[in-house]
Symmetry: C2
Subunit: 140 residues, 2 copies
DNA sequence: AGCTTGACGAGAATCGGTATCGTCAGCCGC
DNA sequence: GCGGCTGACGATACCGATTCTCGTCAAGCT
């Protein structure tokens, strides 16, 4: 029985010297429930605005520094975060240019093509992002 | 003999109802000289700060609305623009997480993989962006 | 040349995100 | 259990990129 991502994240942050306060736990559990694209404002709203927005940013930042979340930027100037689970599976995003909806997709052939580019690049690539923008089928 | 991108852009903007003032012409010619990733601040600096920054933004916005430039966002919160030339050739970006350098690459196999994803997506995809992030070989 | 209308520049406003700081509470050793 | 250290918290000030507002000016039509 594998630990949940939330348990693992709390454990890893504690080992990194962070304490587990109530905001940290709440944010981690929210992220574990979602698994795609949550913004700081989303978290703040989901927590009923009973926590300071700055604390939300702090927790998200600490999770990012510990490599526990991926930071996703789809070009609208709002940073979103999603859990990076042990399995290593990840996905990329389709953004509707009309309604702003964000959807996930994944494609093994695309991942292979990207890995080949990474190998040729001369960079120590840590992350890649692919964003497709266009009108979704309900908006066209 | 094909028209230059700058000439074409001025023509298309005029047809779209814009007038050609000095700032517009200067910005278009700057973009035509570069072909990768120029920010509004870059343009403003290149023009010796003799023009209003707001005008630079306005021109870039009008070019984007007319589909003459691609807007590139590599996740550092700065919007960059590059000309979209007739030939349709385009590239994607490698960003150094240490020094912030942005480099271009292109890869036909990657483009094919993306086109297949686009076809399956149900979206009318207008643009795609791929960003690879990691340490460049001088920063490692 | 006169008129209309968009282009321009300066500066205010907005907005996401970050830094600061005083206070509070979790955790440690006793 | 108690005192003290240290990080977590919330409020608020701040920052930098972008957008808005508005008075003025000039491009282009007649
Ligand atoms: Zn996602
Ligand atoms: Zn991927
Ligand atoms: Zn480029
Ligand atoms: Zn491409």
């Amino acid at each position: 029985m594998p630990k949940t991502w939330a348990e693992d994240a709390q454990h890893r942050l504690r080992e990194a010297g962070y304490r587990n306060g109530p905001v940290r736990i709440a944010v981690i559990e929210l992220l574990d429930a979602e698994n795609c694209c949550v913004s700081a404002a989303d978290v703040h709203a989901s927590l009923n605005e009973r926590v300071g927005l700055a604390s939300v940013y702090r927790v998200l930042e600490s999770l990012h520094a510990a490599g526990l979340v991926r930071r996703v930027d789809v070009g609208d100037g709002i940073a979103r975060y999603e859990p990076l689970r042990e399995s290593g599976e990840h996905h990329h995003h389709l953004v509707c240019t009309e309604c702003g909806k964000v959807e996930a997709f994944d494609d093994p052939a695309l991942e292979r093509a990207i890995r080949r580019v990474e190998a040729k690049s001369g960079y120590a690539v840590e992350q890649h992002d692919v964003v497709l923008q266009g009108a979704c089928d309900t908006c066209r």
